[in-house]
Symmetry: D2
Subunit: 407 residues, 4 copies
């Protein structure tokens, strides 16, 4: 790979990406463009502008954008249509944000004539893979620079020395090492490393940042109603809301009731296991609600097919293959199934749990006429079941007859 | 089908199966053998003996058995090795009990020279299918009689008339109709019908029988430790327990903390949707614990394959295909994966939730040396990730290059 | 089911469906509408009109249609996009024709105010299921009449008596029983029953009707070029052709070279095994050609996902679930994959075999630059493979280290 | 990676691996152990001994072994139980041999106290991955040396210079470059590269080495009978044969009749497409025969599950994951299905094709009594089909009713 001439950096304004910014300038002597995205991580973005300017970035090279609506509409919602869960429990909060960041990095590179993009993910994690696969899928000519895999700033001390040496301001509270590492966006906050590294140790309460401890949540349950249209949440308690506002509102409910905490050991794509604490307050409610509305609007054929495709779909997102033809194929199948996933779900929120307690829909497939214990006026002929069972049993009988001969 | 001469009836001792008993005698003039199983449903069994005798069953034709250990060891545990969940949420508590009952019915039929078995499941539900597929798979010559599909006792009034006419004692509280219908065994209690028939109505609290309302559960969390060996729970808080005792103990913890309630609309195999309220206190804890121990003892290859097979496996059990070659194939694969699923999991139980908070195992695949944010002493070379990403990206780049030509 | 008033019958003009026609009139006293479709089965259709009139059908109630283009375009081609094969070998020639017939039956019923449709499939086969599931999926109110499951004309003798009794003309060669039963359409001819009933007996040569014996095929191979656009065959040897004409042309090539014979024992949906001889001359060539073009235009992600979905897709078609949401979901995924499946394939046809020998496409993903044994000018860095392997090996190493501890 | 001290080299005795041998000695100054395996590739092995000695290998460090029976029994046969095919057509002949070679390399390393193994696969192909994943899975401490990824002998000229410089004898016919590259073992011969690099060019006839051109094959078909036990071929024409002898015999039949040629473009695990010509004469017959016997001995539940697992299984073998827990899980499922796959299959071999024409088994599930067009004496009640269809249709009717409301 020849040296980059102009690089678009995913820039948070924090110490680590500021060091990367400076390192790109000094190591490659290249022009740096910064991209700072509001994904709902709950931080002010404007300080990133001042900091970038301080580090010598030209103002036309500083991009700060609010991508929250796009994030929820084009990434979070399609994923939730699939009820995607990785390894039985993880809602993919980090995984789903990476492709959007890469997409904007590549677009800004094309706009500004940059030949490379750079990110601050380490060489041990999944995020490097997600950033880079997405970038290459969108622009096969782009260069991707991953300083953590290249440089020799391999200890906290050396990083701080580099910062000092290059006049990068270091906040006092960043001089020591954080007791764990955090990633956040509107969908979730993940914490890992350091105090969490022993999976046999219970995570300290202070690790949690997005949710109250269920023990401190209200002692009375709260009931909310989530409205869906074609598989996407569109209203809460009857009020129509934009995608991002839906998720923000659910986040607030989840935070308050201590919903969506997960202590988890997962398998990274790069081959090792890691332990994290995830908080996905709104997403956890949304998944439960989506399942609730699917219960009455999806038939078993669609539902079972979706269930069988889901693990592969979730794995693709986790592994960074959002922009892959197979993810798009699965998405086409999933979206096809959502045409009638429209209606409302009532959920009970209480001390860490979100539970569907009622659901209603004009598109419902539930037929009280068929299922009733009462007289069903001929909707269903119980005698049909005899034939149904006989033909389902036929091969089992033939097997049993055969197998008896060889006992 | 020629008329049966001797029938083994799955007999609970309750009104409905007593009516069936008498109906078999009068309709077919055949000898009836009763089989009453203790599956941990929490009812006295001996009254069933007295009642059967009263209805004219010879004492050598009355079989009352405690099958709880067999139930948990040979049915519940194998199923939990798979983390089986039907349609995203249901733990299959009713489904998994049916094959065991059919197995004993068929065995008793062979022992007593009976040519038929009979059950009390209706023509609208899944249980008829489960009973009958299992029976035919175990004995292809057996006749199965399902009175609810045959007789004309299609209303409560006619049932009671038949009972009166044949001197079947009717308990006072059975004269009226129950507000919902119940099935119970050691794994769960399910309630459906009547007051639950409208899925848009919140289920009344009195439907729940096996768990306290989370709101009434203790205000302080309780922590327990579940020990596993080869995928099966073998101890609680360090005390070795038999399969049934493990489940009973977890049930007691679950009951106390309001764990395992599910309000659910599902797709029956016979083609309609139904709504049920399930309570699976111990099973819910067990599933969470099993996942917890798999997190550190199963690698991603096994885990992801298991996840992708699970929906099919769960569907087979739900649909009544426990005794099918494909369920046995899947079981062989799943059991193969459990050889090292050994260790302990710590769970927090609190107001409706069971959450893994720590896990430890001599068989752990978690490598702190690899994952650490600190210096890993060469366990992992971050530069390897660059090649890993490049080769994973290669096809995406080729795709992007191709697709650009056709934009 | 109340008695039908007006029935649309799938009518071939042959003896069996003529008997059904008359039986519907006499049994139900209902008006009969006949629908005769040209699916490319290679029979004159107009005689069916005369026969229907002779049997008293009003001319406005006689529908004779050429549906060949629709058949290939909307049924055969979508199925071939999936490379659908049932149980490893069967190309689904009968299965794929049934939904189209049912669709037209239901449409004609709606047009003519009929309340029922009828078909001539027996109660042992798959076709009854396919006809009826399609009909119900398209019109949930329609009645379906399956005379073979209802009447008592259960022997050849009684059928002929009924024909005689009702003045149905019986061709001389139909007085005896055919040595096997045949179904044909443009995609294939299937033969089963009678002389084929013992799967240990080699099928007599005279069973084959659509293909010459490979031993009698030309001694010189013939090469043809099939052109594809978005997964569908659109030209042969450079000449653009309509869907039906493509298939007819391939059929002629296949017939001449003895291609597409299959002697097969399959599992019917109704639970039994049956043995059939299939001839799918053009379809066999088409499948090979489609695979050939996918080899260079589909990436591994799409291709492997397609392969893994295919068995389920084929089973759905075989079992009669063409008009089901899950088939449509799979179709959406498959069609999504075909956007660049465009190009040409050269096939060698010789004595029973069709083999891809060359393929070319502007949409090709094949990169000689990457794969070459010669100097690749930096297209591919072999050192990347080391990192790729290390990270793929990491979990295997951790497993091996763990497993060694327990030997 | 520290420098290896003693290396076990997969040594063919050919020029390339002789150069590697010498390079390992000169580059690392390490002791070299050679392992030469007879996998049925059809070459004399003893010359490899002389050549190794000539290159200075001590006689106790030269391992020459006939592993043909192990290869077929423990690798080829388990794979054929699965009917494994990669990307619809490739029988995995190269892929399945690599794990066995790695297994012996690692075992010999442990026996001789070597700390490394080495292979002659390039950095562009799949074989490096297969060799190395297998080695690491069997011994996580082993070093693997892949000279083609390390050295600078990147052209034919430099290789020959190195050979000359180190007194490695070069056969005259090796001075020029071969027009394509070959890998062979008892299961297949693969050819790729050079004259085959353009997939739009028809492969020259001289590329084929293991099969006669179908046009030159006998003009009369030949019929053979293959006997199976539990899924493995155990006899031909009634004569019991060892695993390797079965395959050799089938190879001879296949060679003679021109069976098993495949011109194929496949997706390599490392991300690029490549084109190869494969000849798998005996394997192609074996696959057809195995399917033939499964047709009558496997029920649909097992068969369809096997079909759906197969693509994943084949991908695992292709990608080098033979020694992975997920392959072993799938194998456990597949082997479970083969318990009754016992019987005989008659095949017709003719000019490139092997076709099942008859099959017989004491374990057959085929029931003429059920399938017959004649009177079946009550084996099957056609009326059962009505109920079967009604319940299968129920959800489709409910869907249709629902969907009509939204048109």
């Amino acid at each position: 790979m020849s040296a980059p001439k102009k690089v678009v950096l995913a820039y948070s304004g924090g110490l680590d990406t500021s060091i990367i910014l400076k390192w790109l300038q000094t190591e490659y002597g290249c022009e740096v463009v910064t991209f700072t995205a509001d994904l709902g991580q709950g931080e002010e973005l404007e300080p990133a502008r001042a900091k970038a300017e301080l580090l010598g970035i030209k103002s036309e090279n500083i991009f700060i954008e609010d991508v929250r609506e796009e994030f929820v509409r084009d990434f979070v919602f399609p994923m939730f249509r699939a009820n995607a869960i990785y390894e039985g429990q993880y809602l993919l909060g980090t995984s789903i944000a990476r492709p959007l960041i890469s997409k904007r990095l590549v677009e800004i590179a094309e706009m500004t004539g940059a030949d490379a993009v750079a990110h601050g993910a380490t060489g041990k994690g999944n995020d490097q893979v997600r950033f880079e696969l997405a970038a290459y899928a969108l622009n096969p000519e782009i260069k991707v620079i991953a300083p953590w895999r290249e440089w020799d700033l391999t200890s906290r001390t050396r990083l701080l020395e580099f910062a000092e040496q290059h006049q990068i301001p270091v906040a006092k509270d960043k001089r020591g090492e954080a007791p764990f590492s955090v990633d956040a966006n509107m969908l979730h906050t993940s914490s890992e490393g350091k105090v969490l590294e022993d999976p046999a140790e219970i995570a300290p309460e202070y690790v949690h940042q997005r949710t109250v401890n269920p023990e401190d949540a209200p002692d009375t349950p709260e009931f909310i109603e989530v409205g869906f249209e074609k598989g996407d949440a569109v209203s809460i308690n009857g009020e129509a809301l934009s995608p991002a506002t839906v998720l923000e509102t659910l986040n607030e409910y989840g935070r308050k009731h201590g919903i969506g905490r997960l202590d988890f050991v997962e398998n990274r794509f790069v081959g090792m296991k890691s332990r994290g604490v995830y908080e996905t307050p709104g997403g956890t409610i949304l998944l439960e609600a989506h399942r609730g509305i699917e219960q009455i609007t999806l038939d078993s054929g669609s539902g079972h097919l979706k269930d069988s495709l889901m693990p592969r779909y979730a794995e693709l997102i986790y592994n960074g293959f959002w922009y892959s033809p197979e993810r798009e194929m699965l998405q086409a199948a999933i979206d096809k199934s959502q045409e009638h996933v429209t209606g409302t779900v009532t959920l009970k929120l209480y001390k860490g749990s979100a539970s569907t307690v009622a659901r209603a829909s004009d598109h419902s497939l539930y037929s009280e006429a068929h299922v009733t214990f009462e007289d069903d006026a001929g909707a269903y002929d119980q005698k049909d079941a005899a034939g149904f069972i006989q033909l389902n049993a036929l091969r089992l009988k033939l097997l049993a007859t055969r197998n008896r001969r060889f006992k």
